[in-house]
Amino acid sequence: MTNEKNHLKSKEAQDALNSIKEMKYAGLRRALPIPVWMGTFLALLIGTQVALLGAGIRTYNTLLIVLICIMSIAIINKNRLSGVTERITLSKKAIIISLVCIISSYFILIIAGQYLKGTYDYNWAPYAIGVLVTLTGLSIMVSTRASYFSKFGKDKI
C-alpha cells in the first residue's frame, strides 16, 4: 500500500516535471533570438559605417545612422510584439561595462582607421577594420543564437 502511494506521488511529481519542461520550452520558443538576416544586416551596417568614417567618407553617414536606428527599433519591436522578453542574466554593472567597451571600441576603431590612412597611407586599413567589425558582429550573433538553442538540449529537468 505504501509502495503504491509512493509510486503515485512519484508519478504525480514526474507529470509535474514534464509539464514544467514543456512550458519552459514553450516560453523559450516564443523568445527566439533575432533572425539571422536582421543580425547580419545590422552587423553590415555598423561595419560599413566604421569603414566609411575611417576612410573619411561622410556622404552616406546620415543614411547609415537612420538605417541602424530603424534596425534597432525593429529588433526591439519584434521582442515586444512576441509578448515575451528574454531574461538577461548579466548584472547591471556588467551591462554598463559592456556598453562602455562597445561604444569606446567603435570610436577607437574609426580613429584607428583614420590614423592608419592619414599617417601611413594605408588606404585599405579602414575597410579592413570595417570588415573586422562586421565579422565580430556576426560572430556575436551566431554565438548568441548557438548558446540560446543549446538551452533546448541541455535544460534537463
Binding site: K9, S10, K24, G27, V84
Partner: protein
C-alpha cells in the same frame, strides 16, 4: 505531499505552468500566458491573483497602440520558491 520545499501555491497545475513559463523569461504578456496554458481570461486572472498574493508574481502595465497590455514576471521570492519546488519534485521522483 507536505514538505518544507513543496509549495502548494505553486503546485496547482495551472499555477505550475504559469511559473514554468515565466521562469526562463524576463516578462511575459497576459495573452501569451493565456494562449500557452489554454485557459480563459478569468481563470488565468484568478491564478495570477493567487500568485501575486503569495508575492511570487508581479505585473507591469504598458500601452501599445492605445491598448493596455499587462506583463507578468516572477519576483526573486517567486523564482526561488519555484526552483525549490522543482528540486523537491526531482527528489520525490528520484527517491522511489
Amino acid at each position: 505531499m507536505k514538505n518544507s520545499n513543496f509549495d502548494t501555491t505553486i503546485h496547482a497545475p495551472n499555477r505550475l505552468q504559469i511559473c514554468a513559463l515565466l521562469s526562463p523569461l524576463e516578462e511575459v504578456e497576459f495573452r501569451v500566458i493565456r494562449d500557452e496554458i489554454g485557459v480563459s481570461d478569468s481563470v488565468l486572472s484568478k491564478h495570477i491573483k493567487q500568485l501575486e498574493d503569495a508575492g511570487y508574481v508581479k505585473q507591469k502595465k504598458s500601452k501599445v497602440n492605445g491598448r493596455e497590455r499587462r506583463w507578468f514576471y516572477l519576483t526573486t521570492d517567486g523564482r526561488k520558491a519555484f526552483e525549490l519546488h522543482v528540486e523537491e519534485l526531482k527528489r520525490i521522483v528520484n527517491n522511489l
